[in-house]
Point group: D2
Chain length 167, copies 4
């Protein structure tokens, strides 16, 4: 079973650039994570953008929807900043009348700490999401904090730094 991974930026891929004395979104950390975990499932990675999710616009979201719909894969993982992940999941869920999206299992995930840190949630989250996307039926989901949420039934609790059901 193959998974099509789309990256849009967010925290997972933030790396520290000493020349600039700051972090920036770098190349996707996912290939490295997959090598260290010896992941053997087939996958394809497409980088759509490198944005903090507070900077993601409605145009960006429509681009994501179009790109996901155009994928020949039925299993799609979308990495995304956590701040507006709920909004992107919502738009994708509303777009599933589009047959090309409606037939797909779409899982969004992200992280609060970059994969480049010694202590991070990135690795666990990517592992968790990779299983969710291979096992869940068609639909749009958010996979965070070791739980699977249906799009439209989740919110980010910013103060607590975690996702919670919003039924």
């Amino acid at each position: 079973m193959a998974v099509h991974i789309f990256t849009t930026g967010g925290t997972i891929d933030k790396v520290y650039f000493d020349v600039l004395s700051e972090y920036q979104i770098g190349d996707s950390a996912i290939p490295g994570i997959f090598v260290e975990a010896n992941v053997t499932c087939d996958y394809q990675i497409t980088e759509l953008m490198r944005k903090d999710s507070l900077e993601i616009t409605e145009e960006d979201r429509k681009l994501m929807a179009a790109e996901l719909a155009a994928s020949e894969h039925s299993r799609v993982l979308l990495t995304h900043g956590t701040d507006t992940m709920v909004q992107t999941a919502q738009l994708l869920a509303e777009s599933t009348s589009d047959k090309n999206l409606g037939d797909k299992t779409i899982v969004l995930t992200g992280a609060m700490q970059p994969a480049s840190l010694r202590v991070t949630d990135s690795i666990f989250n990517v592992g968790f999401a990779m299983a969710a996307v291979q096992t869940l039926p068609p639909g749009v989901y958010i996979a965070m904090n070791g739980r699977v949420f249906n799009a439209g039934e989740v919110k980010k609790n910013r103060a607590a730094g975690r996702f919670e059901a919003n039924l």
Copy 2:
């Protein structure tokens, strides 16, 4: 949704004891992994034994089956050494005529590198298995190398250090 995690030993929990100048299976690494990943799903951990899977006997496997059957949870994650994980999954799959097991989603996982290492598959594998156990229908599965295998349809390729379909 709650997950009942049973630990039996294996590589995930191996830690280096300097006094002994060697690695031994230590306390479960899972609570620490869950703290770092900010896992909020309910779970319970039961340590059944601390054995390399080459040392696991048929009696041990029957104990595991009995303990899993006695769990009040329908979602069960079993961490296990990789060398005989296939055999344990096989016995559990053969025991599912026992209604108490047959109603459960049972996922086995392990690792080739301890969670205590800087470079490891443990974190990804635990994350991956935690999603699988929450999403899969009742049955017995092995979750390794970023893939889900049905018990009875998988083997460990020892030379390559990975699990493969054995249909």
Copy 3:
């Protein structure tokens, strides 16, 4: 032998704050480094400021010189951003006619990658500097890249990201 450690900011102590989606200088990483390395030598830590060294002013440097001179310890380690570490070392070297500074062994160190990263020079550099400060005779030194440089005889090669002799 006791070491007085003064922190001024710089890269060693940068941590990722997910709420802010960025790195900022956090609490000193040194106590944690010392615990993990089981450091038993006596030490005292004084935080002077939390600045990228590009933001350090001449007033800041004079404050550092005054604080170091006022220390009752003869062994002083100063952690500092790498971009203007050479300038601070130069000012301290010029101030050693002040008897309170002239009697001291003063070692400056920093890092190109924060201690919070999985791959970092921070730990090695702090270890290296802690030995240098305990063994060198009175004077002002920069300890970077596994080498000890006399203040006034070193420059930072920004393009290559390392310190070199500048005789």
Copy 4:
């Protein structure tokens, strides 16, 4: 200034071999440590043996003394298991009437946790020892726990897992 590093085994270089389900002393971790810390000082590494220090014999110690004496470098770092590091330092100190050893700065170091672990003293200890060997006058020293000890004036407190002055 060049440093000649001799490795004899011990904990720094222990790696986990999943095929064997155990740790073993692997290739020296030092080149990798030096790359990550961007160490630019000249060095040469010679592997003498791969032994836990409880297995080191008097013949082994005489070999070490001969090899160190034959080195064309005056700065020598010897990595060694911690259990009998004191004994090896003692023999080297007693051999310094041999002019070829007596002119050298010889620093022994090791670790309680392998460099391959996420939490380790190896990196700090190697950094610390690399400074000590470049700054100390001729003699034989043990560099552990962030302190420098003269050979003959140190013991390992096994219960506490650290080195202490033994005056």
